[in-house]
Every structure is written in C-alpha cells, then in structure tokens.
Amino acid sequence: MTGPIDRRDAVRRLLTDRGDLIVVAGLGASAYDVAACGGSPLDFPLWGAMGGAAMVGLGLAIAQPGRTVVVVTGDGEMLMGLGSLATIAVERPPNLRIVVLDNGCFGETGNQPTHTASGTDLAQVAQACGIADTRTITEIGAVDRLRADLHGAHWPLFAVIKISDEEQPKVLPPRDGPYLAHRIRSSLLGTAAALED
C-alpha cells in the first residue's frame, strides 16, 4: 500500500548523525536513497543479490557485535527473502535493524504492484516470525522516533515505512564490488582488512 511519506526525507532523517552505524542497502531505489545521504565507507549498497539484504545485515551484525547494523531495503526485495525474517527472529541479533521502504510496487521495473499493495503486511510477517519489536510507520514524526531507536534499542527491530510511490532522481552509489567490500572492511578492520580475512 502506498503511503504519504517521502522516501528521501525518511532515509535522510533515519541517517541523521548516524555515528558509526553500518548501513546495508537493498538494490534499487533504497540504495539510491542511502547514497543521496552523502555516502559513507560504512555503507554497503547492493546492486543485485535480491532477497539477500537482511541476511548480509545479519552476517555483519554477528561479526560486529559492538556496532549497530541497519538494513534499508524495499518491499519487493524483502518479499524475496521472507524466510530470512524467521532466521533473524531465531538468532535475535540485538544490534540489527531492518527498515523496509514500502511503496507497494516494483519501482525499478515499471511500478508493477507488489504483494504489499494487495494486503501482505510485512510487519505482521516479521512479528509472526518472532521479531518482537515491529512497527508500521505512516507519518514522518514516527520516523524520527525510529531514528532514536536505531541507536538506542538493544534488540532486533523491524520497521515498515509507508512511502509515496513517487520516483526520485537516481543518486547512484559505487557499483564496483571489490571496492565496496574493501571500503567497509578497511573501515571496520583497519589494515587487517588487506592482510587478513
């Protein structure tokens, strides 16, 4: 279902003063939204691997327990990896947050409706999988509260933000895979990123 919130505004608010947040961005418009915030070495934007964003986030959350990992992705991308919500619920990573920007359509391919447009409720799916803190956000003020909880919570959190289906200008993140991988690894691991694995 389409919502009233501007996606760029929402992501900008979520990543305000982000500190050392790690951000995994799902392919397509979600990655452009994160890039539009200026880009950070702690961003890992995906250009493919559809359905994998939440699990990349879980891997990072397990490997970096002292950091907070935020997965920003779209409803289509999340729908392709629904099973990962059950896996994440079982693992209960206290430092993982998943934020789904839900416009009810596949924006990259011509705005065909996704299942959420016909009533699939991703927050209820996550809740039923066992993620206790789930929210559906339909007004911008709640995005600011979510931003505070990204930093303050000590439990896994799953949020759906109902965004407008209005297309935004494309702000493209780098798409060179080895560069993106080395950039975040060297930020997290220092020179060991090149010497170690």
């Binding site: 493919g48 994998g52 891997g59 959350a61 490997a63 993106l180």
Partner: protein, 179 residues
C-alpha cells in the same frame, strides 16, 4: 588414536577450528548430522539454521565484511537455490566456503533427487566456484584443508562435495511401495 582413525566429520570440525571458522550456517542434511552436532556443541562456533540455502550465501558475505570466517553446510538439492546469490561473493571477490553432501547418485532410492544431483557440479562451476569432490573418508581431510586454504588465503569461492558413497545412501527400508 591417530587422526586417521577419527570420523571424517571430526576432522572437518578440527579444520574449522584451525582455520578460525566461527560461523557455520546450515540447511540440515543427514550426511552433515555429525558435523552439525560437533559445531553446535562448540562454544567457539555459532551455528545458524537457515530456511533456504541462499540465505547462507548472503550471511557469509556479511560476515566476511565484518571480519568473520564462515562455512555453509548444505545438500546438493540446495545448490540450485543459491545461484543468483552466488553473484554477491563472486562480484565482490569474497572468499566463500561450502560443504555439499551429495544426493541423487550412488545408491539413490529417490529419483526426484537425481536431476539436481547430476547438475550440482556444473551449476557450481558455472556460478564461478571451484569444486572439489571426495569419495573416501581418507580424502576428506586433505581435500577440505586444501579447499579452506584456497578460499581464505586466496579469496576464492570453493565448494567441497561429500559424495553419497562417502556419507551412505539414505535408507527408506521402512517404507512400503504402493506399486
């Protein structure tokens, strides 16, 4: 007891420790049972059960980005589920290591396992992975060690196939055929 006298799965577990594998993700298979039990009993290894195999490919990628070495344990029928997700470690030049138990070959009872079993090696190689195969218990240790070294020292995508002859064909002895 010499190392050769151990069960091959114990040898793989010891290699996981030696190669600092601290995260193991799993879609269970009977052939992996002993190794899964060893990993779950090991406080130094976090074992994650997946709902489908490609989750483990994405998990391994995220773990690598954060500095953690992992291994994926799956059955041959799950290899097909991973194909598009293999593009992630491939295009990012990440190390990746999987242990694949084989179905659909030696002594297979269930014909529905055969198509994916027959195409497992080709699918993995077409996806850019280097494939090693083991048919005997004696081969397992050296093969897995070589594969772990290639994956983590040279950052390659590697799979080791544990053949159905090695793990033993699944028995359906209690079943009753209707025709």
């Amino acid at each position: 007891m010499t190392t050769d006298a151990r069960h091959w799965a114990d040898g793989i577990h010891a290699l996981f420790r030696a190669y600092r594998i601290t995260l193991v993700s799993v879609v269970p298979d009977a052939g992996h049972k002993r190794l899964i039990d060893l990993c779950q009993a090991d406080a130094g290894i976090r074992t994650v059960t997946l709902t489908t195999e490609e989750e483990g490919v994405a998990l391994a990628a995220g773990a690598y980005l954060g500095g953690t070495r992992s291994a994926l344990l799956i059955q041959s029928s799950g290899v097909g589920n991973c194909v598009n997700m293999f593009s992630l470690p491939s295009i990012c030049h990440m190390p990746f290591f999987a242990l694949v138990t084989m179905r659909g070959e030696w002594g297979e009872f269930n014909p529905w396992q055969v198509p994916m079993g027959e195409s497992t090696t080709a699918v993995l190689e077409a996806s850019g992975l280097t494939v090693f195969r083991t048919d005997t218990a004696e081969e397992v240790g050296p093969t897995v060690e070589g594969a772990l070294g290639l994956a983590w020292q040279s950052r390659r995508r590697v799979a080791v196939l544990l053949s159905q002859r090695l793990i033993g064909a699944k028995r359906f002895g209690e079943g009753r055929a209707s025709e």
